[in-house]
Symmetry: C2
Subunit: 344 residues, 2 copies
């Protein structure tokens, strides 16, 4: 299944906020629509919002009323600013914007040809994402033994990517295809419950046994020997610092608990998630609204006027990561040295 | 404020499932009503369900149609069985049942006098609980410095006791009364969100600044230096094993994170919570329903047919506990030796 598509010169995506109760596709006809869709987390997951950003920029190219190349580029740069401003922690937005703007600046021919080249580039990025994630799955499946139970946080499945496999769930799916028995313990992942809503939905569709737990139960499950390995995705990995992982809030906690119980903790991510430029100190942790925590299914669960602290991400230090699973292979420490292979 | 009361020979309690949106009192006229109230967590928190159990048995004494003492005792024993079967992890239920049954067996005089003695005993237990918790607060407040931010899980405030102070929140309230500046970070505590609903409600009423976080954000907050100390309550503390703490799911995770970040982790509990009889291996961890995790505000958040693992409690080993705060004083390691003072 596909998370996001290009149809009749519009962007069509699953509204993931309505899953698992409703599978509803929404159509977006401007880059503003797409940016709002990313902000409201209709689409989420690092690779998915990366390719969605690319499609959003394709939409900006398609809609541009520019008559000269420099105006066209200006329109695209404006669009890129709108898109990258939606979720500051996700490196894939910037990655997508850079690729599309590079294409816009380098492509030859008429304005119409440039427009088409950009749309084609974005569609290629969608296709490539699926292939990359399949490779992550193949490398990662080697780490999974028959009978393993894998813990995971948030949703890093096909819904978090362009489609099909996902990142953290890809090794699990490939191992399952290979005939290994794999079970999953999915942290529900408050506040937005992507584990309960999306990961459970995906794995059930794939026939992979999954149990949902509240986030606070992970330590208990690990202490009882119920988790053999933990695999999560990532929103940005800072290479300069040796591989600090920005991922969904709760990931750091999971890594500390895994370390305590000697459970291997893996991060599965395509090379587009690795940030070779920024220092750790430049990493922005997005803080989201109070109502995202305080309102569930339309009703407040906190008293009126209560304060909430709602960081969307946390940072797992590289010493708690056993290995990174990428489309180029499984990368083990020393990360500062080994991660260089991702920079082509 | 009082959590549970004896009024016109009935038990009246706040329906805590409706907080913070509605403050509704429910009236219970039989021990079965009271048992259901405990099971459905209308009343929750170890000391609160202890005194509620005592009042439930007082109700059984009041309602008994027995005409002979041995029938009366039999009625009470049946009632005790019903009450203690509701939440197997909570030692306070058994504590309350033992006290009431001992009273029933030892009291002299007519059946009518026995009935009255039991009701009086239960009411005394309610009163004593408030005094005990005030003492916990006084001892615990000495551990809190001006400007501290205290992390806590679930609700161990007045709503978790007979009223007024609570256990884990009592040191915070007493420190606040003493003029110290204290802030609280409250884990929302899925699945039933007692932190978000009840702890925030209580502390806001007391004028103590509180921030609600999702449970998965605790590690992030600790890593950012936002938490100076952590205080939680307990449902049962196994003394024979040196002080293993059964408490709300998520507590163990908090203790591991506190240890990782060198944050003192305290358990505040009255001596009635300490179990001197059972071995750790005999500790039963209550598992609750799938819908408790899967349904929030009347709507399913997991796919139809998804599996859920919902342990209500976890176990924190004594090596992760800095000290126990009790009505007899602050008890530091070696616990096996020091906890003996609680057995009078």
């Amino acid at each position: 299944m596909k998370t996001v598509m290009w149809e009749n010169n519009k962007v069509v995506m699953i509204d993931q906020n309505k899953l698992p109760n409703e599978l509803e596709y929404v159509t977006m006809s401007s880059v503003h629509d797409v940016a709002n869709g990313i902000k409201e987390m209709k689409v989420r997951g690092a690779p998915a919002i990366g390719v969605t950003a690319a499609l959003g920029l394709a939409l900006a190219a398609y809609n541009s009323k520019a008559t000269a190349r420099h105006e066209f580029i200006k329109d695209l740069e404006k669009a890129a600013e709108i898109i990258t401003g939606t979720r500051p922690t996700a490196v894939n937005l910037f990655w997508a914007a850079e690729i599309i703007l590079t294409e816009a600046n380098s492509v030859k021919g008429t304005l119409e040809e440039a427009r088409e080249a950009i749309i084609k580039k974005a569609l290629n990025m969608v296709e490539e994402d699926v292939q990359i994630n399949r490779k992550i799955g193949e490398f990662g499946a080697n780490l999974i033994e028959d009978g393993d139970t894998i813990g995971t946080v948030c949703n890093a499945g096909w819904l978090a990517t362009a489609g099909e496999y996902g990142t953290a769930l890809s090794p699990i799916k490939v191992a399952h295809e290979q005939g290994k028995k794999v079970n999953v313990i999915a942290m529900e992942t408050r506040p937005k419950l992507q584990g309960a809503r999306l990961t459970a939905f995906e794995l059930m569709n794939d026939g992979i046994p999954v149990k949902v737990i509240v986030d606070g139960a992970l330590g208990h499950c690990m202490s009882k020997g119920m988790v053999d390995k933990f695999i999560c995705g990532a929103d940005r990995i800072i290479v300069k610092s040796g591989g600090h992982v920005a991922n969904k809030i709760g990931t750091y906690m999971a890594s500390v608990l895994a370390d305590k119980h000697k459970i291997p903790f893996y991060v599965a991510a395509p090379s587009s998630t690795f940030d070779f430029d920024k220092d750790l100190s430049e990493l922005i942790i997005e803080e989201r609204s109070k109502s995202e925590v305080g309102v569930i299914n339309g009703k407040w669960i906190i008293p009126k006027g209560a304060n909430v602290f709602n960081p969307a991400f946390d940072v797992t230090p590289p010493n708690l990561v056993k290995a990174f699973i990428t489309e180029e292979g499984v990368i083990s420490p020393p990360f500062r040295e080994q991660l260089k292979i991702l920079r082509c």
